[in-house]
């Protein structure tokens, strides 16, 4: 660690005003006054100041690390290592071993390199214990853009905060700046919005305002009934579908009852994916309800419900080929189709539209 450089910088900084960081306070009092968790020294000349500080290498390094950062980047990196809660000595002990934190599906580790400088590593949380050699290594945060576009099955991820980020990669040896950059690649603007929220400055735009703003093909979305907005949030915004914590409601005074989630970073307005889906739901909700008479056995009714559940929860792949006790099993579902759908695909042979003139559209 380049102690001299840190001392020079600190002495320069004190000339502009007191330095105060995590238990280290240095100010001018004619000479210099230094306060550390161990006590206070007053009336020091510069040589004595330097000597005192050099004996508190960690406090000095801690100040040096944070004085060069500001805004959301500084706040985030401090949060990662619990800088507001953990005293410097305890924190540096932990940093020597490596400290980890989670951010959505990300696992972030910070430790100190041989020169005592913080280094950051990112992985998927599921890979936290993986042998680094088993993971594909990247070193530029922007290199994550392409892999993070696809889930582990190679399917495009239209929503970056969906909990389906791919596994199998690591981005190591990062500076703090690059660490935040990488988090921003994975979950854009989440650090900025998290910081705004912590400083009481999060600008939430609720459903009504968001949909009233829409024009063009999305202009219709403001017609979606109030109760349907609950279903939208339940469909798309719960933690199983999106790791952002939904902070928007129907409007300022009217919260949704659906759980917003527990993630660290907020969702400040309905996203484009939700608005686009809601456009479809708006069209569908314009239809009048009808009563159909469908004849099913009790087990068949339950099976229809099980199929809906399996598709909605994305669990169809988990149902074993021969597990015919699962309603959403493929054989079971094919059997149901063979029995209950007619040649036109009508459930129980009941046409969707009772008017024969419109029947085969």
């Amino acid at each position: 660690m380049d102690t001299e450089r840190r001392l020079d910088t600190l002495v320069g900084a004190v000339a502009d005003g007191p330095v105060d960081c995590d238990g280290l306070r240095v100010e001018r009092d004619g000479g210099y006054a230094v306060e550390t968790p161990e006590g206070r020294h007053e009336g020091l000349d510069e040589a004595a100041l330097r000597e005192t500080l050099a004996a508190h290498e960690r406090l000095l390094d801690n100040w040096w690390t944070w004085h060069r950062l500001d805004g959301s980047r500084r706040a985030f990196l401090r949060w990662l290592e619990g800088a507001d809660e953990r005293p410097v000595d305890e924190r540096y002990d932990l940093l020597e071993e490596g400290l980890t934190a989670g951010w959505g599906n990300l696992w972030i580790r910070v430790d100190l390199d041989d020169a005592g400088t913080r280094r950051y590593e990112l992985r998927h949380a599921d890979d936290a214990d993986a042998d680094p050699d088993d993971l594909t290594g990247f070193d530029d945060p922007l290199d994550l853009r392409r892999p993070l576009k696809f889930d582990d099955d190679g399917r495009y991820r239209p929503l970056k905060t969906a909990p389906n980020a791919p596994t199998g990669w690591r981005l190591g040896g990062l500076t703090g700046r690059d660490c935040v950059e990488a988090v921003d690649v994975a979950y854009p603007a989440t650090v900025a919005n998290w910081h705004r929220e912590r400083t009481g400055d999060l600008d939430v735009t609720h459903w009504r305002e968001t949909t009233e703003r829409q024009t063009g093909i999305y202009g219709v979305v403001e017609e979606l009934p109030r109760e349907a907005v609950e279903w939208v949030a339940e469909a798309a915004c719960v933690d199983s579908q999106c790791l952002k914590r939904r902070e928007w409601g129907y409007d300022e005074e009217d919260d949704l009852t659906v759980d917003g989630g527990d993630g660290p970073f907020p969702c400040r307005e309905p996203c484009s994916l939700v608005v686009a889906a809601a456009r479809r739901w708006t069209t569908l909700e314009r239809e009048e309800e009808r009563t159909y008479e469908l004849t099913l056995t009790p087990s068949e009714k339950e099976q229809v419900e099980a199929v809906i559940d399996a598709v909605a929860d994305g669990t169809t792949d988990e149902i074993r080929e021969a597990d015919v006790y699962e309603g959403a099993n493929r054989y079971r579902t094919r059997y149901l189709r063979a029995k209950r759908l007619d040649d036109e695909g009508n459930l129980c042979g009941v046409p969707t539209d009772p008017d024969p003139d419109d029947g085969d559209d």
Partner: protein, 295 residues
Amino acid sequence: MTDHRSQALVVVAHGSHLNPDSSAPANEHADTVRASGAFDEVRTGFWKEEPSLREVLRTVEADEAYVVPLFISEGYFTEQVIPRELRLDGWDVSAWDSDGLSADSATLAADDVEKTVHYCGPVGTHGSFTDVLVRRAESVTGDPDVGREFGLAVVGHGTERNENSAKAIEYHADRIRERGRFEEVQALYMDEEPEVDDVTDYFESEDVVVVPLFVSDGFHTQEDIPEDVGLTDDYRTGYDVPAAVDGHRLWYAGAVGTESLTADVIIERAADAGADVGDAVERVRESTAPEPADD
């Protein structure tokens, strides 16, 4: 260091919920500009992806943000959607004082961040974008001097969707024609006459380069146009470059916006709006050249 207000470039583009390649040109051009070092910071923002247009400016640290839309023409997106979503305070399209082709830039503030935003006209209507079309002809043929005995077709939507989109197509077709480099130059449309389906009827030259004036590849450039012009009956089976069609050889390589020289136009847009880009324009022109710099 001189007194320097930090400057960011923000490339804004459409993006897609369905097509993973839609945002690729914006990211690639942003990388090229980043490597040029002309800006303290380079960011991308999208209508359909993240960071969203609503939130991209809060990811920018610099004092000055030069926002360049990676769009082909002026219209609904550049005039309404982008300024609204960026929350550009007091935006009115008259600030561009444009005839549909001449939008340059407007300097505004955004409601949610404390910075100066220079909102630029789209990439596709900048004069330098003509060079990108020519560059595409060079890269698809592998010939830096292509032109003699070659025809060039500029293809886009017609006026049905956006009157200015046809203007942009004609603008570049006219400019290329005036240079006299190609034997023939023709603007063709997907949804009106002269139609791209009849491309071979419009050219005497045996060799024709077909350049779609689109920002990124999607089903228009990868599926419709290859089938419409007869490169293939089924886009899924692919096609040759060049492909023999009705006694002509058609050279086709998808959306022109993927051409790396587009990065140069992005920088020029920002420079026109007052960004200090040094010699980045020349450097990017060189770094994106397919062959050692020609003449």
